[in-house]
Amino acid sequence: MTGLRSSIAILLAVAVLAGCEEPVTYGYFRVTATIDPASVDEDLLKKINGCGIVVEGARNDRANIACTRGSVRYNLGKFEYSVTEPQGSLNFKVLLADINGNEIARGESGPVSIVPKVTTAVTVVVRAVPGFDAGADDR
């Protein structure tokens, strides 16, 4: 009998605690990605055939930006990211690749703190990867 009463008490406690769960809050990032013209010339720009975003830190994620060969501009545009982690930091990377998947250029934001309910503006400047031969894949 005592065991049953204890079980009921535990059930009630668990249910109450479950009801006290904190609501989900998001932290937002609006990232502006640009290509540094001083680092990436027009020839190299025309070779870009793939654009990727990598998120690292408190959360790991990735996404693609629509980049087709010959249509990429120096202003890659803005992308937005949301996260439910209440604290920590994120590092945003933008990777540009040629048609063979070779990395042409890259840029990263550095650690950016997560602030719940706040949209944090981030800038990523993409620069050419040293050593990439712009004329090696001129198909």
Binding site: M1, I8, L11, A15, Y26, Y28, A33, K78, F79, E80
Partner: protein
């Protein structure tokens, strides 16, 4: 007299004691208590008769189980509390689930962005 009483004490039981006293003739001869033959017979009969309270044979657990149980209040039964626990747990669970707000969606993506992803969003 003293010798007879001592013999009685040594003998132990009332029946033996009375018999011994009567046999010796000392009980009638002097002093109280003046026991009559009828008193002695009654005493002896009481000694020999089985007790009306105590059972004459050992009671087995089976016989005990056959005794009809008294009316037990419902709240003292295990099934009452099991049923109560089930009802309470079900009601509480339903209440918590029903009152919990659905997962809050993130803010909508701004127009014109090249990508919008993360928690609560599909790319």
């Amino acid at each position: 007299m003293i010798k007879g009483v001592s013999r009685c004490l040594a003998a132990g039981t009332t029946a033996v004691c009375v018999t011994a006293l009567l046999g010796s003739g000392l009980c009638r001869a002097e002093g109280p208590p003046h026991l009559t033959d009828a008193d002695v017979r009654i005493a002896l009969q009481l000694e020999d008769e089985p007790s009306p309270i105590l059972p004459t044979h050992p009671v087995t657990p089976k016989q005990v189980a056959q005794v009809p149980a008294e009316d037990v209040p419902a709240y003292k039964t295990w099934w009452f509390w099991a049923l109560t626990a089930g009802v309470v747990a079900g009601a509480v669970t339903w209440g918590v689930v029903a009152s919990r707000p659905t997962a809050q969606p993130p803010a909508p993506c701004s127009p014109g962005v090249v990508a919008c992803f993360g928690d609560g969003r599909s790319q």
